[in-house]
Symmetry: C3
């Protein structure tokens, strides 16, 4: 029944090459995103409830939308691989939800989720099948797309300032309590823990898988240390940490390394990527988000700083690494081995770099335009948009104790 040492070592080799199970991604989607968004003091039920409802809806809808492009004789076969992909698509919609947290009604969120899933699946097809861009961790097609779709909707939902009314860009409930910030850490830390599994879930070989896990692990670790240091350095009260940075910027290293984590970027490269992500994200939260809010562009969780800008950064890094790829450096397997998502070896480094860039720009354009249009449609009274005084409040949607 039990294995010998030799059989066990063989099994260990196999284990080392196993892609991250969908279970880890599943925890990220439903515990990670759900609890991260409980940071608002009176929106915990809605954060957890809508996260769950939207996630459960999108994974079913995404199974249809994604596999529409990959049917066998008109039939969709569902396996563990397809349900990982569905879970990953749910992340896109939940990133958008983060931007709109507290300001969109349940009906608006459901409408946005349904539209975004369809558009997002088409965009993934474009990025990976048409442009054949390397994007194993989804920093382009998932993080950038989800964040800018959300900001697009947010532009459309920009509240009107009315003379004599309270400022709609400020809201007393748009902030944390001591307890809600602790429960948000459950989400944040689980996202951080399983991010290497997320980024490596769709790798195609053992070597690629190990690179994806180790690079993501190192990028996150470096990003975390630098986020704390920077948070303390730029804080309003000298030397104090800001929970917003701790809960969010620490994760930017996972986004930033996403598109390149399976490439030969080296341990030093991964750490450098993570440091850059922390700088972008903490400075974004500290200086950019208040500026955008003062223009009425609301982004409750600051997804621009966690998913948006780090996603663009990752896309640009993928352009850079594609351009630098040479047969000599990466051995006879060439680009095909470097870019896991690409099966053919015939493309040159510069073609691949160009494709990466086009994929990034196309994603940004589709996300923003799609988001703005969806946002305007969602303002129909059919979707019962919220009054300003109903925002960030569980009272609207829940029977409270």
């Amino acid at each position: 029944m039990l294995l010998t040492v030799e059989e066990f070592r063989a099994a260990e080799k196999i284990l080392a090459g196993l892609p991250g199970c969908y279970e880890d991604t599943h925890v990220m989607i439903f515990i990670g995103f759900g609890f991260l968004m409980t940071f608002l003091k009176k929106y915990c039920y809605s954060a957890l409830g809508f996260n769950w409802l939207l996630g459960a809806l999108v994974i079913q809808w995404a199974l249809l939308c994604q596999n529409f492009f990959h049917m066998t004789d008109g039939v969709i076969y569902i396996t563990k691989l397809t349900i990982i992909e569905a879970d990953i698509m749910a992340a896109t919609v939940l990133i958008t939800f983060g931007a709109l947290l507290g300001v969109a009604s349940g009906a608006q969120l459901l409408f946005i989720a349904v539209v975004e899933t369809a558009v997002g699946c088409a965009n993934i097809y474009l990025v990976s099948d048409v442009f054949k861009a390397a994007d194993v961790g989804g920093s382009i097609a998932i993080h950038t797309f989800g964040a800018y779709f959300g900001l697009g909707v947010s532009m459309a939902l920009k509240p009107k300032k009315v003379e004599g009314q309270p400022d709609p860009y400020q809201h007393e409930l748009n902030g944390p309590s001591y307890v809600s910030d602790v429960s948000a850490m459950i989400g944040s830390i689980f996202l951080w823990i399983y991010w290497p599994s997320f980024n490596s879930a769709l790798t195609q070989s053992d070597a690629e898988y190990q690179r994806a896990v180790v690079n993501t692990y190192l990028s996150l670790a470096a990003c975390t240390v630098v986020s704390f240091v920077l948070s303390s350095a730029v804080s309003h009260h000298h030397g104090k940490f800001d929970m917003v940075h701790v809960q969010n910027s620490t994760l930017a290293g996972g986004v930033a390394v996403g598109s390149v984590c399976n490439m030969h970027i080296g341990a030093g490269g991964a750490i450098a990527v993570g440091i850059g992500a922390a700088v972008i994200s903490v400075l974004g939260y500290r200086y950019l988000t208040p500026k955008l809010a003062s223009w009425g562009l609301l982004d409750t969780c600051g997804v621009n700083n966690l998913h948006g800008m780090p996603g663009i950064y990752s896309g640009l890094l993928s352009v850079l690494f594609a351009a630098m790829a040479t047969t000599e450096v990466y051995g006879s397997t060439g680009l095909g081995e470097v870019f896991g998502a690409i099966k053919e070896d015939e493309r040159t480094a510069s073609t691949q770099a160009l494709n990466q860039f086009i994929a990034l720009v196309a994603t940004l354009a589709i996300a923003i335009i799609g988001g703005v249009i969806t946002g305007f449609v969602s303002k129909l009274s059919l979707f019962s948009p919220l009054e300003n005084k109903e925002k960030y409040d569980d009272e609207v949607n829940w029977e409270l104790p």
Copy 2:
């Protein structure tokens, strides 16, 4: 050291067939059940503490009780497989604990756990070895058994109404607070996430395993969406969600698909099962539980709506699918492939359907009778039953800060 693409693909095939590790089930038992039961405002310590104590006790006792039926030369060999089975048995007792949450003393709970484990293990032997019923996810032998054993005890513990005393069927501490409802969501979501691992843990082939995972995943997703919609439709205040439904009914899809998840029920079938489970569970919480409570049949967590009725529903579905099984539909392997639990192929579809039905009825009878008897014995003063004013209160058992 690293694998080639070919070796990796071979490993992926193996991965696809790996049964859910016991670790996932372990999280469900100790985090899932434990935190789900923290929803009461002043019973969080007891919920977590008793869940842990009972779980740790039962897994040791179940290792003896279960393997008593499967010894080799009088010796019990303990492997990862036997500890998965022990963890699953702990679920039975913790479902019963859910019915009695806040109303039974620690000594009563320990007594009930010891008796129920012994009776439950004998019932599992009856269901799987004597009747050879298909029940891979334990909806009959674990969920139905645990729920009705608990309701049996509850019948025996029914408090007496006394003239001039407060109504013992009502209790001011029998309700949630805002914070306790959030911590309960930790349990609820982890149960939801790992349920596919639970239902597939004892599958016997890769094909059966993949069916069990995918069907459970789909049933839960559909059940969740419908639970939210129905919760809002039947709510006391039009359109608001009820946390009780969100925390519990969302999980009924995992119970309902349990006995049939490894069969060829198809994606549409799995979704239909999940929808049915949501309807049964939400309507049960909304209309049946208050009715039972008004008769003094207390069921604090409403396990009848989460485990009891969905378990019976799953048992009846297994009768239906057994009756429908044909060699033509399921290929040359016939019933043996359809019913993972059965090794012999000689039985006909109708014999199997009858066996499924008998297993369900026997389980119900043993659970209710066993529960009522155990409940009456637990009222001995030896087990220090609680006064009405001590119920739902951590004060009785804990040194509070």
Copy 3:
């Protein structure tokens, strides 16, 4: 695509032999330790934040320190195995953090973490490569080292009693609230769940792996039951449980079995080890910790009772089992199979027992001396040590809502 029953059974054999993935250990380090330390009423942000910051820093630094001893041609190769080892090293530092929780400043903690990682990695080299001691679960090199390094620092940081000032050995914030004790349970239970993965992560064969998992599982289960019983027996108010015991002593079974879990100790042996651990730990919390505190030796989490004394106990058990090892009992593979960490078979049982003992004593000496020296250096004003009134308070380090 799918496997046959035969292929699946082969895969199951492989699964059974897979070492605990690093993901489980990762959850223990960042969720487990982090949330366990949120039990203080006004130190939750710091507990979670510093745990994360220190963990993220140490895993990077440990990758260098540990692999300094195992380079290939001057290059460090990072794989999933090396990142498991880095995570395990982080545990050492976080145990030390537990002793100092609330009393050390951020700068002191960072300084201590950097020094301790370097010293701890050298000690691991001594224990496993020089003395070739069996210590698969790290009870000697991780738990004992971390706890006594922390107590060493604590000796150096002993606050001075000043006439007319409040007693520095007492602090009103050094205690839990109802909510913080619930969030601490998240950490405690996750540590408990994944401990078998931690103890088995570095096993070398399937048989050894299965023993490590099953023995740890049983030791923890027995320890939990006995911890509850003893907690209630020795409580200040007869029969009530104490949350400190429930959160901590329940885990002592994992520490106590650590050094011997991969040996042939049998199910009864594992349970006996767990019972002993519960007795040591609960009595330590009840009687020893208050005594030490009255001498000014602060140990906020009581790591002496959870990691220190159970670690020494485990080390002594490893001496005992080494001395008892005979070729007849363990088959022709002799000591080599019994002591997973040892590759050569030439040593006798008594030599091995002696080596185990020296490894334990050396670890204790290095930890205490290293801790005291590091503690004294950390009192430099450069590391901004805390005033007594700043202790156990998030206010010092965080922008609070």
